[in-house]
Point group: C3
Chain length 475, copies 3
C-alpha cells in the first residue's frame, strides 16, 4: 500500500513568514483560539438542531450537496451538477449513489488548491473527523468509509458537534413567514444550545420575487392580519418582527442587489403595493419598493431594537439554465459594482444619527471599502461594517478588508466576524481562519510600530470575540 500525502495544516498557518511577526501573531491567536464561537449570521438549517437524533446523512450530504462553494468549482471545470447529486427542481433524476459523488469530488480535489474552500475542508476533515490523509482519487473511498462511520455515531450528531465546536450562539436566517417551529422545538427541548432566528423579509418585500403573491398570502396567514394593502403589510411585518424577537431574534437581514434607499409617501407605497398584488408591478416599482422597505425596516429597528443587516451587491441566479433546473443558491450568484454614498443617503439622513439603530453593511464590491464604507462607518453613529463577505471570506479577502477599512473606520466601527455559512462543518474552520488572519494583521501592526502590545491584546479580543457579541447585542 502506497503512502498517501497528509493534510498540511501547520500550527502557525496563515501567519506572515517574518519570524518576529509570526511569534506575536501566534501569541495573539492563542489568546482567542479557544474562545467560544459567536455566529451572528449564517444559514445553518435549524432542523438539524431541533431534533436531538438528527443526523448529517452521508459524507456527500454533509460536505458536497448543500455547499455551493464546493460544487460550483467542480461545475466550472465541466462536472455536471447532476453527477454531484444536486437535486433538480424539475424532478429529473440525479446521481443517488453518494460514494460515486464522493469519488467525483475526490478526483477533482486539486481544484481547491490555494482556495478557502480547500482550507475549510482540510480543517474540518482533520480536526473534526480525524482524517489525516489528503482527499485524492485514491484515498476517496477509504475516507468516505471513515466519515460515514463517524456520522452514524452520536458524537457526530449536530447537537454534539455544536457543543464540541464551542458555539456560544448561532443565529440562523429565516423567512418573515417562517413559524420558527424548529426554533420553538429547540427552546422547548432540554438542550441548552443557543440558536436564535434572524428575520429576513426579502421574499415579501421583493415585489417581483416569483412567489411574491403566495408569500403575501402566507404572511397574512402567519400574522393573522389580512394583508390587502400597504398599511396592513407594514402591520403584519411589525407583528412578525415582534414574534421573531419573542423567539430570541436579535437581528434582521436584507439582501439587495443595489443599496438604493428612498422614502415613498404612503399613497405611493400603497399604489405600488396594489400593482404588486395585481401582478402589474414593473422593475422600477420593485426597485423603489425595495428601497422604501429598507428605510421602513430601519425605522422598525429603531423602534424594536433589532440590529439591521444589509447585504448588497449579488446578482442572483446569473445562469438561467441552472436556475430553471436547480433553483437558487447554486453557485451562480455573481457580484456587481455597488454604490453606497448616494444610495444610502436618504436612509442615513433620516436614521443614521440615531444611536438606537445599528445598521451593519456588507459588500461584494471591495472598491467600496476605503472609498465609501469606511468613511460612512467613520461618521454615522448607526453604521457598522460587516466582515468580508462570501467570495471575500478568505485570507486575502480579510487582509484586503483590514488594509482598506480599518485606518478610516477604526476597528470599533466594525462588527467582528460572521461565518454566513450553510456548511455546518466549516464553522470552526472559518472562525479559526478569521482569528488567525486577524491576529496576523494585528501582529503586523505591532512589528511595524503602529501598535504597542497592550493595544494589540485588546484588539485581538475585540476582533476575535467581543465585537460580534456586542454589535449584534448577543452578550
Amino acid at each position: 500500500m502506497t503512502a498517501h500525502s497528509k493534510w498540511h495544516l501547520p500550527e502557525d498557518r496563515y501567519f506572515d513568514p517574518d519570524p518576529a511577526q509570526r511569534r506575536i501573531a501566534m501569541e495573539l491567536y492563542k489568546s482567542v483560539a479557544d474562545l467560544p464561537i459567536i455566529s451572528p449570521h449564517g444559514h445553518v438549517d435549524p432542523r438539524l438542531l431541533a431534533d436531538e437524533h438528527a443526523s448529517f446523512g452521508t459524507p456527500a450530504d454533509l460536505l458536497i450537496i448543500p455547499d455551493h462553494y464546493v460544487f460550483r468549482m467542480l461545475y466550472s471545470q465541466g462536472v455536471r451538477l447532476e453527477e454531484l447529486g444536486i437535486p433538480r427542481t424539475d424532478g429529473v433524476p440525479v446521481e443517488k449513489e453518494h460514494r460515486k459523488i464522493w469519488q467525483v469530488f475526490a478526483d477533482h480535489y486539486t481544484l481547491f488548491r490555494g482556495t478557502p474552500t480547500g482550507a475549510w475542508l482540510a480543517h474540518g476533515l482533520r480536526d473534526v473527523f480525524g482524517i489525516e490523509e489528503k482527499v485524492t482519487g485514491q484515498t476517496a473511498q477509504r475516507i468516505y468509509d471513515e466519515i460515514e462511520a463517524k456520522l452514524k455515531s452520536p458524537e457526530f450528531r449536530p447537537r454534539a458537534l455544536f457543543k464540541r465546536f464551542n458555539i456560544e450562539v448561532l443565529c440562523t436566517t429565516d423567512a418573515a413567514t417562517d413559524r420558527l417551529t424548529h426554533h420553538q422545538a429547540i427552546l422547548h427541548s432540554r438542550w441548552d444550545g443557543t440558536v436564535r432566528p434572524t428575520f429576513r423579509p426579502d421574499a415579501v418585500t421583493h415585489l417581483l420575487h416569483p412567489a411574491w403573491p403566495e408569500n403575501i398570502e402566507k404572511l397574512s396567514e402567519v400574522s393573522g392580519i389580512v394583508v390587502d394593502g400597504y398599511p396592513k403589510f407594514i402591520k403584519a411585518l411589525e407583528e412578525r418582527r415582534a414574534f421573531f424577537k419573542s423567539m430570541g431574534a436579535r437581528a434582521t437581514d436584507h439582501a439587495v442587489e443595489s443599496a438604493y434607499t428612498e422614502a415613498l409617501i404612503p399613497a405611493e407605497a400603497e399604489s405600488i403595493f396594489q400593482r404588486g398584488l395585481q401582478r402589474k408591478a414593473n422593475a422600477e416599482d420593485a426597485h423603489r419598493f425595495t428601497a422604501h422597505m429598507v428605510m421602513e425596516n430601519a425605522r422598525m429597528s429603531i423602534e424594536d431594537g433589532l440590529v439591521m443587516q444589509l447585504h448588497v451587491g449579488a446578482l442572483r441566479d446569473h445562469n438561467d439554465l441552472i436556475y430553471r433546473c436547480f433553483g437558487t443558491d447554486k453557485g451562480a450568484d455573481i457580484p456587481v459594482a455597488s454604490e453606497f454614498t448616494r444610495n444610502l443617503r436618504p436612509l442615513l439622513n433620516r436614521y443614521g444619527m440615531d444611536s438606537r439603530l445599528t445598521l451593519i453593511l456588507f459588500t461584494l464590491d471591495e472598491s467600496t471599502y476605503a472609498r465609501e464604507l469606511a468613511p460612512l462607518a467613520g461618521h454615522y453613529p448607526a453604521v457598522k461594517l460587516g466582515p468580508p463577505w462570501w467570495f471575500h471570506d478568505s485570507i486575502n479577502g480579510m487582509n484586503r478588508y483590514f488594509d482598506r477599512v480599518m485606518e478610516t473606520a477604526g476597528i470599533y466601527n466594525t462588527a467582528g466576524f460572521n461565518d454566513d455559512t450553510r456548511a455546518f462543518l466549516s464553522i470552526p474552520a472559518r472562525h479559526d481562519l478569521w482569528r488567525r488572519t486577524a491576529a496576523n494583521w494585528v501582529a503586523g501592526l505591532v512589528v511595524r510600530g503602529v501598535l504597542d502590545t497592550e493595544d494589540a491584546r485588546e484588539m485581538i479580543l475585540d476582533l476575535g470575540y467581543r465585537l460580534a457579541r456586542k454589535v449584534y447585542n448577543l452578550g
Copy 2:
C-alpha cells in the same frame, strides 16, 4: 500613583519587519528625515502666522475643535459634536469648558488604535510637547495641564513651531475673493517664513453654492470689475489670479465632485452665467459651468504659469443635519466613484500636450490609480499625480498608491507629498510618515532586486523633498 503606558513610537516604525528591508529603509529614511518640509497644499489658517503673538489657544483649540479627522471618529461612536465644543452655526450653545472636551476625547482615545490620526497625535504630543504618556481617561487632565502650559510659552507660538518644524514653504488655500491680508501682513513683517497663498475659486465657479450671488458681488468688489456677465467674470478671475501671483501664489486649487470637463461656447457660458445671477440655474447648468471653468482655469494656467490642482470625488456634507447645524468640513464628506478617462478628455485634448501646464490630479477613488490616473500621467506631458489624499493619507493608503501608480506612471509623473491639513501640529508627523513609508517602499524594491541602491538613494530624495518642490515650482 500607577504607572501609565507610554507612547509607542519606535525609531524604525512603519518599516516592514524583514531585517534586510528595514535596514535599507532606515538608511534611506535618514537621508531625508531632516530635510526641510515642503508643504505645497494645505489649509492652515494664515492668521496664525500673520501675528507674531498669535496663539493656538487651548489644547482643545489646537487638537480637537478644528480637526474633523479627530471629532468625526468620536461622533461615529455616539459622542455629540456639541460635547466636543464644535461651534454651531445656528447659535445653539456648545460645550465651552475645554477641559471637559479634552476629557471626552481622552475617554475615547482607544478609538484611534491603528489609525493615522492616532499616529499623528502620538507623534505631535510626544515630539512637539514632550508628552511621554498615552492619552487615556486617567492621564487626560495631567496631559492637558502640560500642553496648556506650553501653549502659553513663546516657543509654542505658531511662528516658533513653523521654524522648529523646519518648514521651507507652506502654501495655504484661499478663496478667490480673499484680499490676502494675512499674507500681506506676513510679507510685510520682519519674519522670514515663506507662506504662499493658493487661488481657490470654487465658491465663485460653483453656481449653486449657497452663497454664490454674494461671492460674485465680493468678486466685483475685490477685483474692481463689475461682474455682470461671463466676460467680466473671466476678467475678474484673471485679475485675481494675477493678484495672487503677485502675492507669491504658485498654484490654484479646484475641488469638484466629478472630473467632467467641457468647453462651452461663450454664448452658452454667458447664458448659464446669467441664469446663475438670476438664481435660475439648475443642477445641469452648474455641472456644465463647473466643467467649463475647469477648462478655463487650465487655459489661464498656461498663460500665467500657476500650477493647477484638481481634487476630485468628495460628496460634501453628506449628513444634512450636521451641515445645517454645524456647517461644512465636519467630517461628513464621503467619497464617490470617479471617472477620469472620459471626463478629462476634452481638457487633455486641448491642453494636455502643453508643457506649460502642470495639472496635478487627486482622487478619493483608488480604483482609478492603476486604471486611469497612472496611464494618463504616463502619457500626457501636462499631467502629474498628487499624493494619496485625505482618507488615503495613511500608511496603507500610501502603500496602495505606490503599488498601483508607480509601475505605470513612474515616480517622475508624481508630485511628491502634500499634507493637506488644517491641523498645524500634524504637519511634521504627516511628512515624517510619508518619508518613512516612501523609504520603506523604495527599500522593498531594493531587497526585491528591482532597484540598485544608487537609484534608490535618488528616488527617496525625489519622493521626500525634490518632487514637491519642483512640480509646484517652489524651488
Copy 3:
C-alpha cells in the same frame, strides 16, 4: 575613463525578502526557468520570422520605435515623438538619425526606475546583448555601438533569437483580412519554429472603424464572397476562420471597449449592417453590432474549436492630436471602468455552459478581478481568465492578480501567461518575470501553510508552462 554602474539583476530578484520564502521561491522558479516559452498571444510582426535573413535594424528600431511602452514614458516628460523617430502618418519628417534617438532615450533612462519597462530592458540588454553597464547619457553611444554590431551578426537575426529564447510556439495577431503570407512563408520554409496566426476580426466588426468600408471590401476579396449583407458577412468570416485554422490558428481575439453582449435577430443585424455599408450607422448601431458579433464569434468558436479571447476596456487613441499625426498604438490608449456581470450575461447564458467553448477574458479594470471575473470563471465551464494585461503585466500587477483572482477562481480557471508584446526582445524577460513572480506567490502560500510543497511544485509547472499550453490548445 569613469566606472559606470552595472545593471542590477540579482539571481533572486522579484522574490519577497523573507529568507524562507525566498528559498522556496528560488527552488520553484528553477523548476520552470528553463522550460520552453509558450506565447499564445502577442503582436510580433511575422515578417521578421518569414525571411531567414530578416534583421531587427538599428538599436532604435529594435527597442524604441516600435515600443509604445518605451516612448510614451519619454513623451509624458516632454520629449516629442518626432525626436524619437516615431513615423508620422501625415508625412511630416521625423528624426532619422538613430544615434540621436538613442541618446535622447538614454538621457531619460532614469524615468524607467521601478517600472516593468525598465526591468524588461535591463534583462534584454544584459542577457541577450551582454551589455553590463546601465544605459545613461554617458554610456549611450558605446552601448549603441555594441548592440548595433551584434544586430548585424546572424546570431541576432529574429529566427536565431527565436531559437535562443527557446520559444515553443509564438502566436501572432492578424487581421481577418490578412492573407497570412508571412505565415505561409514560415510554413513553407525549412525553418522549424512554430508560429501560429490568431484571427482578429475587429476591423471588420467595428462598424465605425474609419476604414470599415474598405475592410469589408478587402474581406470580400480575400474570402471570395461578395459581402453585400449580413448573411454573406457571417459566411465570409466563417471562411476566414477556417482559413486561419488551416494555417495553424488556435484562437481568435476580440478587443472591445465594453464587454456588452447582445443577440440581434437576423433582420436587425442585417439592417444595421446595411446602415454601415451606407455609412449611416451611428454609435448605438456600432455598439450593438459589436455586442452581437462577440456572440456570433462565440457560436463559431463552439463550431470550429478556436479558443476565443476577449480584451476589454481600452479606450483607444485618447489623444486626438497624437492619433491624427501618428496613428494608433502610440501609448495613448487609456483604460476605462468595465462591467462583466451584466454585460456578458446574454453570451454566457447562451454559450457559457458549453465546454466546447473556451472564452478567455482580459481586463484593464482590476476592480473586476475579485468582484466579477473570478466568480464568473469559478462558475461557467467556458470561462477562463487571461493573465494580467498591459499596464498590469508587472510585478505588482501580477501580485494583485494572484491575490484577487485565485482564491475564488482557483488556478485551473486561469490561462497561464501571455506576453502580448510587439517588442520581440522583451519576450524572455516578460516570461521570466511572470515565472519569478508566480514562484514567489506560490512560495508565499507555502510559507503561510496554505499549500504543501507537493501542490506547490505542480502549481508552478501549471502557471509557468502547462496552463497556457492546455487552455490555448497548443499541446
